[in-house]
Symmetry: D2
Subunit: 152 residues, 4 copies
Amino acid sequence: MDISPRLPPFNENVAKRYIDAAVQTSGLPEFLGIRTTFVEPGRMRVQIPVDPKLVTRIGNMHGGVLSALCDHVLGSVCYLHMPDGYWAATTEFKLNLLAPVSSGTVTAEATIIAMTRTTAVVRIDVTNDGRPCCAAQGTVLILPPRQPKPTG
Amino acid sequence: MDISPRLPPFNENVAKRYIDAAVQTSGLPEFLGIRTTFVEPGRMRVQIPVDPKLVTRIGNMHGGVLSALCDHVLGSVCYLHMPDGYWAATTEFKLNLLAPVSSGTVTAEATIIAMTRTTAVVRIDVTNDGRPCCAAQGTVLILPPRQPKPTG
Amino acid sequence: MDISPRLPPFNENVAKRYIDAAVQTSGLPEFLGIRTTFVEPGRMRVQIPVDPKLVTRIGNMHGGVLSALCDHVLGSVCYLHMPDGYWAATTEFKLNLLAPVSSGTVTAEATIIAMTRTTAVVRIDVTNDGRPCCAAQGTVLILPPRQPKPTG
Amino acid sequence: MDISPRLPPFNENVAKRYIDAAVQTSGLPEFLGIRTTFVEPGRMRVQIPVDPKLVTRIGNMHGGVLSALCDHVLGSVCYLHMPDGYWAATTEFKLNLLAPVSSGTVTAEATIIAMTRTTAVVRIDVTNDGRPCCAAQGTVLILPPRQPKPTG
């Protein structure tokens, strides 16, 4: 069953920026070590190393890492099909954890399954060294440019 | 409509430990600054400050923080009704983001709505300085004690 | 933690109509025997009898009945806070089945936990003769009046 | 990214039975007109006609039909990989409605993305005459044979 959706125009600038500045350098994404490794129309792949600091004393990676990773790539993939200046806000998502993660690399691949100019639905497949460990699905709201908050 | 569930026995030791060692001191919970502020049978409340490092350049807290917080408290509340040595593994959850968060304190209250000796369903209400900002619902699997992974 | 949301104005006409014409008389709601039993601002309760025709040969009610019931009340509760002529479209929801249902009455209570003029998030508690059997949470889009489709 | 899961053995008898008795002849599945149109290891497709009785006065098919269809195929696909006599109980699922449905045929394709002898996670893609209209994801519990409830 082919369910490739029709998407708004691909934004090459955004795609290039993601790849050029692949490593996130602030906040939660930096703490997790999120790296963008692949983009194409409707799809983005990000990766994190399973840093020992993220592993609980049970020996498994904290589940919050996977949910934060899903949330991150869920919004990010939408920017590939948004005009400059617009922004993506996750409104909801759901995830199933399929297997525990304790080492290696985690890769999350987000695929847009439906998108208009105002909203998108995205699915995410997460693997740990090639083995499925998480599957997610969620909704993103696309919002027009707004003035940045004044600082200070 | 009263839907208070019947729960397995309350584990006072666990409850005391949560409150005594309220501040998480490792990994993602430490990075987020998660603090346990309240426990009672079937319910737990945790809190984080909206640290500027968690706020994106749009001016809002990274959504991944809320999902990680939900994942954290979703599992933690179950330990209140589990025998010592057992562990809780989140198998799935879903969240709705209700309003952006940009400052102040975020409080997540988890309530067990159904629990047996092997599984639990939990709801989470998250507020930002008293205003609802997120609502979640998920499932936890309760697992018997296992040997810790050998180190080194 | 009080999380009562601020809601758009209560529409007394709609509330009265729900109660006056409590029994659904067409389509899936009629087949399921859905009956509105209670409305108040932000909340609606509907009920179905567990008709033997809905019980599978395993002896349990078909899960699709509970999901259809949740979908029904998820949208319906929003009409209580919408201007005449507007309509509510469910965009997503999630449910957890807590216990099998095999006889008696099923009651679903929907509570709006956040609502603006364009969208609402709703939680649903479903009980079977007083025992929790399902918990759901979902999103509704509020749309302005549109011309009905021409018939024939 | 190949995420084909390893599944328990395919049960040819069950598959044959689904195809031979493709049309559901009782309860909610009969009311909806559910028809099994395709099975293969890890995958099942079911179909319903958009009967006018299922269309609301707004002109769209009742959302509860799609959720009931998802619930139905979510459990059914698992029987393809279960020993005779075992049964599948949906524990939770989530769906996103992508486009309204008003006529034609609705096809739901369920794909098992992870399965052990006790549990499975399944994704569902629903199309209306080839156009995506719903995407779902959920969990099924696999239970050992039990005595049927005595009748009368």
